[in-house]
């Protein structure tokens, strides 16, 4: 990494090829660059192009609407679609393509839209002499001019199709109103020679309500956020495109991946942020980077401010809370913070969800809400900071560079360095303050988000391989290693390592119970440790007993979790035998003979017997005799384990 920093910040830090990456108008980038930077969306793009081409070849007409928040890559897609489409013989011989660029609207009626289409076609096909044809339109009374403009468009098209590539359909619909939408729809239906490919940040009434003219008219393609692997892929592609081999190699290393993962948590899968972030990797002047970043946020801020102004007071309050909260929050918490009842809060959140300001994440029975667009938070963050460094940028610096690198950077004499110095200083402060390294924290956060599916999670291995100076992280690694030791040992632990890890695990169980805000969090953790302890009996009975003793008094507060944990271990052995559990319980020095434990044991025995009958004797009578909840439990377990 030191070598990398020298490369970036020193005189040798020249990348071999400069690359223009536009934050807002990918349409200005060369198509080859756009092609090279396409990640995740290839199937979607292929599908859309194929639909357009089918529309040109046959009498069918496909209309596509790309839906995704700002910065998700809609313009990139449209630009590439335009590029690929233009290369095809079908488009050259059977279509006129009107690529209406983003946010160029001053259009308030269908008539003006037709004029705008004609103007766009004129720029693309000067040989059609459209300007001369349309000159007379401006002398006519409005109603006649409308029909004349349509007639000119039809005359130009003759037997060709009009392919309209259009950004921000929601804005256009709002401006042309109900009448304009109906007129456009009528034109499309009457002449059957229009193919639409449009984008919108979110679905809106004009296309999603049955009473709208364009209801159900489009094939909707939702653009999803980039996954971690997509981001690695994207950054690697940018590095390759810049012919920066060192960076391309670094991105693939565990350290590079870990750092990207950390950044991924900040950017929340929004490609526009990665495009900006990509400049960290080769930027020679940090000042340029900071300014570019600030400029991006500046451009977006009025848009988000206008969106927030559209909301009611209560909705704004909720949104402000979520902006400050920097994560998902349950209704109860939001309601409390905003001094409103849960009912009112739920109703307002529903409205915000319909308007695509927030999205919901179901976690068990609880619904968590978070902002739909991470860029909204960043823009509001800039406003809030009032001259202070923007936290996202600071975080990114902190993650990407080591303390030494940042310190060295500060020592380099440079002119006009004031802006970036404040960022570097802040990043250094944070590094010193934070105990846990950001890349380690990022992996752990992803592990937590995997909703309890830790045991077979490849992230566990990634976590184990991270190098960390942090003592807490090392303790965590030791515990995770114990986890693996009881399943598929990677590098076998010594007895002493097992004993130390067990002690740490017991310490962790206690702190988890103290810190867990909800019972759900507590029982998830406990059931994992119960499984580990049960499996550990094979490896080290003494340590297993210690762990088991720490878990048992707590876990039987949650009989269902207790049963599931035991059954999971049993099922994994493929020979469910409750005697094994009874033997452990009866042999245990503490003598777990409480009523709760007995009831769990009885339940486990019933399910195990039913399972045995089903598997061995193919007899479902026992299964049907189980209470409904136990049948469900068994169904979950068999699906979860045996189908793997």
């Amino acid at each position: 990494m030191n070598e990398k920093l020298t490369k970036i910040s020193g005189t040798n830090a020249r990348v071999k090829k400069s690359l223009y990456l536009s934050h807002f108008t990918p349409s200005m980038m060369p198509p080859e660059t756009l092609e090279a930077m396409l990640v995740q969306r290839e199937p979607l793009l292929t599908r859309c192009l194929s639909n357009v081409l089918e529309s040109l070849r046959t009498g069918s007409r496909h209309h596509t609407l790309f839906v995704g928040p700002r910065g998700i890559g809609k313009t990139h897609l449209i630009s590439l679609l335009h590029h690929r489409l233009s290369q095809t013989k079908e488009a050259q011989s059977k279509a006129l393509v009107a690529w209406m660029r983003e946010e160029e609207w001053g259009v308030t009626s269908f008539f003006e839209l037709v004029l705008r289409i004609l103007r766009t076609l004129d720029a693309r096909y000067p040989e059609l002499r459209i300007e001369a044809l349309t000159a007379t339109v401006y002398d006519l009374p409005l109603q006649e001019a409308e029909k004349k403009a349509e007639s000119i468009l039809l005359q130009l098209l003759a037997d060709k199709c009009l392919v309209v590539l259009l950004e921000n359909l929601d804005d256009l619909f709002e401006q042309i109103g109900d009448q304009g939408q109906k007129a456009w729809r009528a034109f499309i239906q009457n002449h059957a020679n229009t193919i639409l490919v449009c984008t919108t940040p979110s679905l809106f009434a004009g296309v999603s309500l049955q009473k709208s003219a364009f209801y159900g008219f489009f094939d909707v393609e939702q653009l999803t956020e980039l996954s971690f692997e997509d981001v690695v892929n994207l950054l690697e592609k940018i590095a390759i495109e810049r012919e920066d081999k060192t960076l391309a190699i670094y991105i693939k290393t565990p350290e590079g991946r870990a750092r990207i993962r950390a950044v991924h948590h900040l950017a929340e899968g929004n490609p526009r942020i990665y495009i900006i972030f990509a400049q960290f990797l080769t930027q020679e002047s940090l000042d340029d980077l900071v300014q570019a970043f600030m400029h991006t946020l500046d451009e977006l801020t009025p848009y988000y401010q206008a969106r927030i102004k559209e909301l009611s007071g209560q909705q704004r309050k909720i949104l402000e809370y979520l902006i400050n909260h920097a994560g998902a929050a349950p209704v109860k918490q939001i309601a409390k913070a905003c001094f409103i009842t849960q009912q009112v809060c739920s109703s307002q959140l529903r409205q915000l969800r319909l308007k695509r300001y927030v999205r919901v994440i179901e976690q068990g029975r609880e619904s968590y809400y978070e902002l739909c667009e991470p860029l909204m938070r960043l823009c509001m963050d800039v406003k809030k900071q009032r001259g202070e460094p923007v936290s996202l940028l600071v975080e990114m610096l902190r993650i990407w560079y080591t303390e030494d690198q940042l310190t060295n950077w500060l020592k380099q004499p440079k002119e006009d360095f004031s802006l970036s110095i404040s960022y570097i200083q802040r990043a250094l402060e944070l590094q010193k303050k934070q105990n846990l390294e950001p890349e380690v924290a990022a992996v752990l956060k992803d592990l937590l988000a995997s909703n309890g599916a830790y045991e077979s999670n490849p992230l566990m291995l990634e976590f184990l391989r991270l190098k960390t100076k942090n003592s807490l992280a090392r303790e965590l690694q030791s515990i995770v290693r114990l986890h693996f030791e009881t399943m598929q040992p990677i590098d076998s632990m010594s007895d002493q390592d097992v004993a130390e890890a067990t002690q740490l695990a017991i310490k962790m169980i206690k702190s988890t119970l103290q810190d867990s805000p909800t019972s759900i969090a507590a029982y998830k953790s406990l059931s994992i440790w119960l499984r580990v302890s049960l499996r550990l009996f094979k490896r080290d009975e003494h340590q297993a007993n210690l762990l088991f003793t720490a878990v048992m008094p707590e876990i039987y507060r949650f009989p269902a979790a207790f049963s599931v944990a035991i059954l999971t271990v049993m099922m994994a052995q493929k020979t469910p035998n409750p005697d094994w559990l009874l033997a452990i319980l009866s042999a245990h020095p503490s003598g777990f003979a409480s009523k709760e434990v007995n009831s769990v044991v009885a339940r486990v025995t019933r399910i195990a017997n039913a399972f045995k009958a089903l598997e061995v004797e193919k007899d479902i009578t026992n299964l049907l005799s189980l209470p409904k909840e136990e049948r469900v439990l068994m169904e979950i377990l068999t699906n979860g384990i045996f189908q793997k």
């Binding site: 599908r47 194929s50 069918s60 007409r61 109906k182 239906q189 679905l203 159900g216 094939d219």
Partner: protein
Amino acid sequence: MKPNPGGNLSLNDIVGRERLVAYLQTTLVQQSVLLVAERRTGKTHVLEKFKADAPADWVVIKRDIGAVRNAKEFVEYVMADLYPHLEAKTNFRHWLGSMGEQLGGAQIGPVKLPNFAAKNWKQILSDAVAHLEENKDITRLVFLWDELPWMLDIITKNNPQEAMELLDTLRALRQHHGSKLRMVFTGSLGLHHVVRSLKEQGYNNTPVNDMLAVEVEPLAKKDATDLVQRLLTDSQFAVTDESLHGHLAQAVDYIPFYIHHVVSALLKNPSLDKLALDIQAIDDVITNGITSSDNPWDLQHYEERTLAYYGKQRAHCLALLDVVASCKTTISLNDAVKRAKAEHPTIEQQQWLELTRLLERDHYFKRNKEGALRFKFNVVRRWWLWHRNLSIVNNGDAV
């Protein structure tokens, strides 16, 4: 064939409408037609197919008139559409020349019309249609006017009197030119809602009582199943269980729009194994269509529109809908009313009967031969149960 939810299908891809098109043709020999259906049932595709299959001596003119703002503009479109069929007639050209100045007239597509400003639109329309009587080559002239209720709605907002006159003029034309002229009205908005609004403003006529209402029903079971099979096969899905096709078709009430939707959604799912498509994957898509917060099929509309459709009777209407949705199979009219009455005891039996009739007309209910009620669309019923948090009852008990 690719799934194309909401787009325009090529004629070859409009399947299962042959019987309806043939029926329309037979009917139109006798009288004009009011083509009715819920949105996205395929009305426009039926019109396309009808136009393509019409006998050679019929002139069929199809136009979406949903954005027309006044009667004069409507007549301009009619004239532009008639022009290619009449221009060879010398007397028509003379007549057209006498209508007004060429300068200042609208140009609609390739047709340059005279300036009608000084003339009465009713007279022009009547005269233009009258010229058809003289054309012996034309056996029948059929106007397929899509989205006519939207046009009337727009005109009503600005000039209700003109909307009334237009409806009456069109009826009079049908009466006077009964041997040749036929009209098909259709649209996303029910015409009866526009007429009701006009009646509230003093309109007393029954402008479409000479037209036969023909409903565009969902596809027949076999046609819908074949469509599913064709779409899945052409999209390279491997299906081992043949019953899957019928299952999908039935689950979305044999409506082609939803069938296209489901197959399209399956294609977009990157984690789906195309070589092992199963019923669960299909059910997941349909359940998502019904319960997703994205509300892709806008089933909320079926509840929301009750406010506009039934006004003060909305609460009674919702009670009746809840009762019928909750029934496992069908429910007799008497039982449905009895249960709804438990919530609204003061409502007369006659009002319940009328409400039931309206709900049937607005595509909520379907009645079998014995008169028992059920929801017309299973998809709507599933959404209704889910949205209103209802339990299914059987013989009065929750099950």
